[in-house]
């Protein structure tokens, strides 16, 4: 059996797509929790603890557990990635918001912004680079975890790796592993570049 270049390309797209959806969903949850909870330290600590706990869960075990609920296919992988994706964004958003100079918030209020306008026009834009950094970390992790999605029947590059290992065929194995590594590196570089752009201002 041979793998064509277009097979690799389409598997890479599926891989990235699944990682993005999962990470994005998790990031969104983390972001919302951080924004809503920023003035309620106790509630936020509860959420942070849960998110941290999830983080320590081995990915294979997580997939197996979720399999019971979501069955075979992409959904199980996406949910797992989402769960892992909560914590980096939650933590970074919260830390970023806490680091905004209170003087700027005060000045925003003093000029007649409502609390919500201060959040939208001052706090969030200032926190954005940190939120993006959290998203980058979690997307890179997701690309890695997504390679074992093959065990719960999801698409992506994991299939080649799994097949290669089973057939003791290094070439097929590498045809999955190398693109996955390249994806992770690309994401790291591109988002990192964007962050540095933003930080320059």
């Amino acid at each position: 059996m041979t793998v064509t270049f277009s097979d690799i390309l389409s598997a890479s797209f599926v891989h990235l797509y699944l990682s993005l959806i999962g990470t994005f969903a998790g990031g969104l949850i983390g972001f919302i929790v951080a924004v809503l909870g920023r003035n309620h330290a106790r509630i936020l600590t509860v959420f942070l603890t849960i998110a941290e706990l999830i983080q320590t869960f081995p990915s294979i075990a997580m997939l197996a557990l979720l399999l019971l609920v979501f069955g075979l296919g992409n959904n199980t992988l996406i949910v797992a990635l989402a769960l892992y994706g909560i914590m980096p964004v939650l933590q970074n958003t919260y830390e970023g918001l806490s680091a905004v100079d209170p003087m700027l918030i005060d000045v925003g209020r003093g000029m007649g912004m409502t609390k919500r306008q201060v959040l939208r026009r001052v706090e969030l834009p200032l926190t954005f680079p940190m939120i993006l950094a959290g998203f980058r970390v979690s997307l890179v992790t997701s690309i890695g975890i997504a390679t074992i999605g093959v065990f719960v029947g999801s698409g992506g590059l994991g299939l080649f790796i799994y097949r290669g290992l089973q057939m003791l065929d290094n070439q097929i194995m590498l045809e999955g592993a190398v693109p996955a590594a390249i994806l992770a590196i690309l994401v790291e570089l591109l988002i990192g570049l964007l962050e540095r752009r933003l930080a320059k201002r």
């Binding site: 003087m103 209020r109 003093g110």
Partner: protein, 363 residues
């Protein structure tokens, strides 16, 4: 617009009152300076006007209307606000920063653009060069200028400034003071300006309110305050900067002088001042040290060198001494021990001094 404090007290939890029983009326179009040592309640007083702090007791009115009756945000959008650390938003360009309040007020884009151009032009900053820069790409003086422009953006009748020039080097500070004075002459806003620098207060203020531990201890024109401090505290506060004895009854040079300088223009590290009753201009350095006088013609011709080096006299020179010199000249600059220009004796100021002696009070 007038701002009136009636029996206003502010107590922060578990502390001595930050402001105690304040009665004060700020007149329309005046620049009122609040001054006093750190912690005396200046910032609190200012922040009660735009309701960033609520008084514990008493009320504040704007044009007779209790500020509690306004919606918080609407009140604030009608009051300009500038702080010492510039308060510029680092993620916004100069233009975006200036446009904050106009945007909140939903001005259309054309009107906002035009306003930003107009404001930058007021301080001779080129729109193309500066509008799209971020605050960190500006010098401290430029940042603070943008902070001031931002508070003017929506053309509010009242502006609050909390030590806006406090963090600047002396040269930038004096340049901005001059600009503010010019803007104010043109715009006639009601400005409440906090500082702890008595020089700045005297230079800028139409009136000065001196605070001590939450209490207003003296309110008056710069001249009144310099010449008739109500108590030891005020006297020592002024004396730190003007090294002369005010309580001494025999007349000294400064008692005859006008101290009401108007910054006219600045050139590099030199500043040109004018003063009522004198056609000449006075050139000082960034520390306010006297360099010389310049005729009106030379100032107009941009000839910024002292053309007459009048020998200044000292603040404590006696009247006899002064009158003997004054026969031959129209004006006499007065300097302190540090050679700082603190006043000018003119025919007008002499007449005022005589009128005060005869009438027993200020003109």
């Amino acid at each position: 617009m007038t701002v009136t404090f009636s029996e206003v007290t502010k107590v922060y939890q578990g502390k001595k009152p930050a402001v105690e029983n304040l009665n004060l009326e700020v007149h329309t179009g005046e620049l009122l300076v609040l001054i006093g040592p750190s912690g005396c309640g200046k910032t609190t007083t200012l922040r009660m006007i735009n309701r960033l702090e609520e008084p514990t007791h008493g009320k504040i009115q704007i044009d007779g209307r209790d500020i509690e009756k306004f919606k918080e945000e609407e009140l604030r959008r009608g009051i300009g606000y500038t702080v010492q650390q510039t308060g510029l938003f680092p993620h916004m360009t100069v233009k975006d920063n200036i446009e904050v309040v106009p945007r909140l007020l939903k001005w259309p884009k054309d009107k906002r653009d035009e306003r930003v151009r107009e404001l930058l032009a007021m301080v001779n900053m080129d729109f193309e060069e500066f509008a799209h820069r971020y605050p960190r790409q500006l010098s401290g003086g430029q940042q603070q200028r943008i902070g001031v422009l931002r508070s003017l953006a929506a053309d509010p009748p009242i502006i609050l400034m909390d030590e806006p020039f406090g963090a600047l080097d002396p040269i930038s500070r004096e340049v901005l003071q001059i600009e503010l004075k010019k803007l104010q002459a043109r715009l006639q806003k009601t400005i409440i300006f906090v500082t702890h620098d008595i020089d700045e207060a005297i230079r800028l203020g139409d009136r000065i309110a001196i605070f001590q531990t939450g209490q207003l201890v003296q309110l008056g024109s710069p001249q009144e305050i310099v010449k008739n401090p109500v108590n030891e505290f005020v006297a020592s506060f002024i004396k730190k900067n003007y090294q002369f004895e005010t309580s001494n009854l025999s007349l000294k040079a400064l008692d005859l002088a006008s101290v009401d300088f108007h910054p006219y223009e600045s050139h590099d590290d030199r500043i040109i001042l004018s003063i009522d009753g004198s056609d000449d201009f006075y050139l000082v350095d960034s520390d306010h040290r006297f360099i010389g006088t310049i005729s009106k013609e030379n100032v107009k011709a941009n000839q910024i060198t002292a053309d007459k080096v009048l020998q200044p006299i000292r603040v404590y020179d006696s009247v006899q001494n002064i009158l003997s010199i004054f026969k031959d000249v129209n004006t006499l600059p007065v300097v302190d021990d540090g050679n700082k220009l603190v006043g000018v004796i003119t025919s007008l100021s002499l007449m005022n001094a005589v009128a005060r002696l005869v009438g027993g009070n200020e003109s």
